[in-house]
């Protein structure tokens, strides 16, 4: 009953005309940016942050959340029509979506993706409403030692679950923390790594790094890979209708994958991408016609699409209740919230219920908007994929530049943005994952503060981190998350 009352309170906020507009703008922008091959949800979020300047935090988060789940929703369109996933979380969708499109059934695949995403998103919001307050109550007892360990776990999980080298992931995370602690140390007033310039006294804004490492680096990468003019032909859409038998076929996978996806999203490090692959492989194993997966099986579209949207919503649980993001995308969301002056965490449910329940209620609305955008309007929206690539790249560049300048009014930051764009390109070319860097950038100074506060409480005794059971277990899991992939590698080598 309490959850229902809170939800009604949330609807009171989400249904304000201006917030309805923000939900629509967010999911529309997310759908469009998510659809464009190469630009994932992190770029979409980073590009949209400047729009939240001066907004009410609840409105800002409603907009940004819409961009995030809109990008996951929209990513399926390019996966199905072009076999070029706009978002990593929709790669699994292309396994069966693209073969369906090649068989002239792109409309059917898009319709399945839209229904599955809608149900995955909606089911997971119900779980979010129920699980988040419970976790919030547990998290109230967390002290600085537990927070420090939780953040260490968040970082190691993101590093270990990335598909790239573990060492490179850790390097990216360390560099991210290094960047985050630049500037004046707020506890002592000491300058650190400012190189004597006043521009760095406040440190480096996370938006400069996020836009540089993701959006700008992506443009540079596309330029290297022939982004100058080559357009990819896309499949025609065709009919969007589904038969009753097809609906009966996809219903069980959608239900199962929605639940699986939500709980995958809650785990640190495992977001929409892992959720979608887990959903896909689970259904492939369970299906009697598993051998047709990869050749245009409609269940192979339904499962990853419901799982990735559910995981996207699930990832809001640690962000909003613990204040610790579990992925690069939610790290950018946390950054946006911090810019708006809101610190998510267990206290937010009590201090700022408008932000939490407003965004939860807005998700219901957003999912309905997305269904409308992705079903009757999809033939129209898919025309965005025909936008000339040279013009698109030039426009992304200007959005990046104006996003940074509009925040800091600093030419120095524009040059830094360029530097981070080139760094991001180098990272991409040499196999360094970018998500750990951005997560570490957001968490770095909070981690340091938690560590120092914990040590202040213990009088400098480091055993505080293992004396507290929750902290100890979090650190053990963090260590295991790094050791297990290595152990697995060694075992595979020994066998082979």
């Amino acid at each position: 009953m309490e959850a229902f009352n809170n939800l009604m309170y949330g609807f009171g906020i989400a249904l304000e005309p201006i917030n309805i507009l923000y939900v629509f703008a967010g999911v529309f922008a997310g759908t469009v940016i998510g659809m464009l091959p190469g630009l994932g949800p992190i770029s979409a979020l980073a590009l949209m942050i400047p729009l939240t300047f001066g907004m009410e935090p609840s409105s800002g988060l409603i907009l940004m959340a819409g961009v995030y789940y809109g990008a996951i929703f929209g990513g399926s369109t390019s996966s199905i029509l072009l076999n070029a996933p706009g978002v990593a979380g929709t790669v699994a969708t292309s396994f069966d979506g693209y073969p369906l499109a090649k068989q002239g059934q792109a409309g059917k695949a898009l319709a399945i993706a839209a229904y599955a995403s809608f149900i995955g998103g909606t089911v997971s919001i119900i779980f979010l409403m129920l699980v988040a307050p419970l976790l919030g109550r547990v998290a109230v007892s967390f002290g600085p030692a537990e927070y420090f360990s939780l953040m260490v776990l968040g970082l190691t999980a993101v590093v270990s679950l990335s598909d790239k080298s573990l060492v490179k992931g850790l390097i990216a995370a360390v560099v991210g923390v290094m960047i985050s602690i630049m500037g004046i140390d707020l506890q002592t007033g000491t300058e650190r790594f400012t190189f004597g310039t006043a521009h760095l006294l406040d440190g480096i804004e996370f938006l400069v790094v996020a836009l540089g490492i993701f959006a700008l680096a992506e443009v540079f990468y596309m330029l290297l890979k022939g982004g100058g003019g080559k357009e990819q032909p896309r499949n025609a859409i065709g009919s969007l209708k589904l038969s009753k038998q097809e609906i009966r076929q996809i219903a069980p996978p959608v239900g199962r994958s929605s639940i699986l996806g939500f709980f995958t999203g809650v785990l640190p490090g495992a977001g929409a991408t892992i959720g979608s692959f887990l959903g896909y492989s689970m259904e492939k194993r369970l299906a009697k016609d598993g051998d047709t997966f990869g050749k245009g099986n409609i269940k192979g579209v339904a499962a990853p699409e419901s799982a990735n949207n559910a995981a996207c919503t699930g990832s809001f649980v640690p962000l909003l209740t613990l204040g610790v993001p579990g992925s690069g995308s939610t790290a950018v969301l946390l950054g946006a919230l911090l810019v708006m002056g809101v610190s998510p965490g267990p206290a937010m449910l009590v201090d700022r219920p408008d932000v939490f329940w407003g965004v939860v209620a807005s998700m219901y609305l957003g999912n309905i908007f997305l269904l409308v955008l992705n079903l009757p309007l999809i033939p129209l929206i898919a025309k965005i994929l025909d936008l000339p690539r040279p013009l698109l790249l030039a426009l992304i560049l200007i959005f990046c530049m104006i996003g940074v300048y509009g925040m800091s009014f600093s030419v120095f930051d524009l040059l830094l943005l360029l530097g981070f764009g080139l760094l991001g390109l180098g990272m991409r070319l040499f196999g360094f994952p970018a998500a750990p860097l951005i997560l570490a950038l957001i968490l770095g100074d909070i981690m340091e503060e938690s560590m120092r506060r914990a040590l202040q409480i213990s009088g400098g005794d480091w055993s505080i981190f293992i004396d507290k059971p929750i902290s100890m277990w979090l650190l053990i899991i963090a260590a295991l998350s790094l050791v297990l992939p290595l152990a697995k590698k060694v075992m595979v080598k020994a066998r082979g």
Binding site: L170, L224, G228, P390, A394, I398, M401, G460
Partner: protein
């Protein structure tokens, strides 16, 4: 002498960076009042971690994903100004010029020039559509940011 692989070259660069970082960390002044940990501890831990990870990277054999893919041979045959790496360099230079000219010349002019110029350089040949899009988007952004969001953008030489 054996040639270093890409991981080893990056590892050496990172090792140099970490040593420089550690040297700077040691110069962080101590806080006058005694505290369990001071401002320099965390950076020192980070510096040593990066150094250790550089050693591990040096020993790690690069996988396929750690080496840049070959660029399209057809694109490599293009005139120098249109080759992939040249596109990146020219874009970077254009962005640097944009940053430096933004305040003196103004947001509208520099932004229209950047969008129009780069789109044309990347190969978009419908110049009128290019110009109309660049002008429309930039003016739209300018008016949204200055009139609705109250964000100041440099007017430069234009009296708007």
């Amino acid at each position: 002498m054996t040639r270093l692989n890409s991981n080893q070259v990056i590892a050496l660069l990172l090792a140099v960076v970490s040593v420089g970082y550690l040297a700077m960390a040691w110069q962080i002044p101590a806080f006058p009042l005694p505290r369990p940990i001071d401002s320099d501890l965390f950076p020192k831990v980070l510096g040593f971690m990066l150094l250790g990870l550089s050693v591990l990277l040096f020993l790690e054999k690069p996988q396929a994903q750690d080496v840049p893919e070959e660029l399209d041979p057809e694109e490599q045959q293009l005139p120098l100004l249109l080759r992939p790496w040249t596109r990146v360099v020219i874009t970077a230079l254009a962005l640097a010029a944009y940053a430096l000219l933004l305040v003196p010349v103004g947001f509208v002019l520099t932004s229209v020039a950047l969008v129009f110029g780069l789109a044309a350089y990347y190969g978009y040949r419908r110049h009128w559509i290019n110009f109309a899009t660049a002008l429309g988007v930039v003016l739209g952004l300018y008016l949204t940011m200055t009139r609705i969001m109250g964000v100041y953008l440099p007017t430069g030489v234009l009296p708007i």
